[in-house]
């Protein structure tokens, strides 16, 4: 099964498989870079998109609606690398015609040759990762060996007394995963060959499956953790695609001046992602701290009758303090919770379900504990319960039969 990505090429929608999408992104990205100094860049890109679209149409019919990577490779070879300067002065330019244009072209279209202009971003890279892929991502970003980064990390962990580990955990939440070929390209700062990436990803999955087998139960928590994060990623990607589709339909006034919507991914989403990830991590931390403090306060109230060392005034009964504490907790936690939820939504990974379930379980447990405590230690609650049972016996119990 292959995932299909819908792109708009100069106003017309085409469906590509992931490999083809990667190829196309790389081609358009390179073209845009080659034309960076050209005043007609937008128009030329639109022309190229239209030409690619028409070539795609050749491979499509009523029974085949998706362009494959192999077909797109042929199309790109046919299009040829984009001539950067357009002034027809580039020496050694490959005009050799119908033979696939690939390596013959000079400077401008070559990968890496564009110097600092290729976007380079910090991602997590999970292939070959030991924990989560932070070191891998940093290594790719700095173009150094991952072993070096890991060594530095371990050393800094020893010297900072665990602060480095905390930083690692925080980065785990904040940094997006490189999941598509263009994200891998951005992680390395160079265009990447999409096919090798797809193959490597497959290899990685096979390896992971094996690893799970012989590591047995010790790795279970890890695999579980990964599974949850994989779900997050999936959700994130789904929402991103939705967003792209939305943009496609939003900016499709059919005219010739439409901007190329099949172009490489938006830079905004990366930073929005980092921001949301940070917010999520910080809010999660605040949430945890508030909850722990509250539980401690509750425990101290129940065991010592004082609120974290502060004795209650006499006019406030014990049960009122309990209820007050619960209300206070909810009042404090409510804005944090809704903000956190908003952060989830904006990352595109609303995984409220299991968090909410967890919250619910904690809430229920606290409620049961409170009722149990009240029944055994608070005279008012005992009296109320007695009254309730009397009422029940008098009105319901008599008709339903006696019970004790």
């Amino acid at each position: 099964m292959q995932k299909v990505i819908t792109v708009s090429l100069n106003g017309n929608a085409y469906q590509l498989d992931e490999d083809a999408y990667g190829q196309l992104s790389i081609y358009l990205d390179q073209s845009a870079r080659a034309l960076a100094a050209n005043p007609d860049k937008t128009e030329i890109i639109a022309d190229l998109e239209q030409a690619i679209g028409e070539k795609c149409a050749r491979y499509l019919n009523a029974h085949k609606t998706v362009v494959t990577g192999a077909e797109l490779r042929l199309i790109v070879a046919e299009m040829g690398p984009v001539d950067g300067d357009g002034e027809a002065t580039a020496p050694g330019g490959g005009q050799t015609g119908s033979s696939t244009g690939g390596g013959a072209q000079s400077g401008t279209a070559a990968p890496g040759a564009a110097g600092g202009s290729s976007p380079r971003r910090l991602y997590q890279i999970s292939e070959g990762a030991i924990l989560s892929g932070i070191c891998n991502g940093i290594a790719a970003y700095c173009a150094v060996d991952v072993t070096l980064v890991r060594a530095i990390f371990v050393v800094s962990f020893l010297f900072t007394g665990g602060l480095a580990l905390l930083a690692y955990v925080v980065l785990m939440f904040i940094l997006p995963y490189a999941s598509t070929s263009e994200e891998y390209a951005a992680a390395h700062g160079v265009p990447f060959n999409a096919r090798t990436l797809v193959e490597r990803a497959k290899e990685k999955y096979a390896q992971f499956a094996q690893k799970q087998e012989w590591r047995g139960s010790r790795a279970q928590w890890r695999s579980e953790w990964r599974r949850i994060r994989a779900e997050w990623r999936f959700e994130r990607r789904r929402l991103r695609d939705q967003w792209r589709a939305h943009r496609r339909f939003g900016g499709m006034p059919g005219g010739p001046q439409t901007t190329p919507a099949g172009a490489p991914p938006p830079t905004g989403s990366y930073f929005a992602h980092v921001f949301s990830g940070t917010l999520m991590a910080v809010l999660g931390l605040v949430f945890a701290i508030v909850t722990i403090v509250w539980l401690l306060a509750l425990l101290s109230l129940v065991t010592t009758g004082a609120l974290l060392g502060w004795t209650l005034p006499h006019e406030i009964p014990f049960w009122a303090a309990l209820i007050g504490l619960v209300l206070l907790y909810n009042a404090v936690i409510w804005p944090i919770r809704s903000m956190r939820r908003a952060a989830y939504y904006s990352v595109g990974a609303y995984h409220g379900a299991w968090i909410e379930a967890w919250n619910g379980i904690i809430g229920l447990a606290v409620l049961i504990a409170l009722v149990w405590y009240g029944l055994h230690h608070v005279p008012e609650v005992e009296a109320l319960f007695d009254q309730l049972t009397h009422w029940w016996r008098a009105n319901v119990g008599s008709s339903a039969g006696d019970w004790t």
Binding site: A51, G80, Q95, P256
Partner: protein
């Protein structure tokens, strides 16, 4: 060095001249231009042709008009402008001169 490669800069330089010649005949769509060149020594690709056409348009030698198409979005059809026609005449004359020079040299 194969012949092909030896003349590569010349072919590249001549491409503009040839495109102007093709456009001078009738209004043409880019795939038509590519098809006309495909089986010549000057076979080229979209990646080269579009930037070249946009340069020619900026210089005012060609312009294009939109024509509806049955399949897909409207297409750009290129044609020669008046100044393009003048320029082409100059190029033709210059090319004839070059040819004469070449044939007059040597035996």
């Amino acid at each position: 060095m194969p012949l092909d490669e030896k003349f590569s800069p010349i072919r590249k330089g001549l491409l503009e001249f040839l495109v102007l010649r093709i456009v001078s005949g009738a209004t043409v769509y880019v795939p038509d231009i590519l098809k006309r060149l495909a089986h010549t020594e000057f076979a080229t690709q979209e990646g080269t042709l579009y930037p070249l056409l946009s340069k020619l348009r900026r210089e005012g030698l060609v312009d294009y008009l939109w024509q509806e198409s049955d399949s897909g979005p409207p297409r750009k059809y290129y044609r020669l402008t008046d100044s393009g026609r003048t320029h082409l005449a100059e190029l033709d004359a210059y090319w004839a001169l070059i040819n004469k020079t070449i044939s007059s040299l040597g035996s």
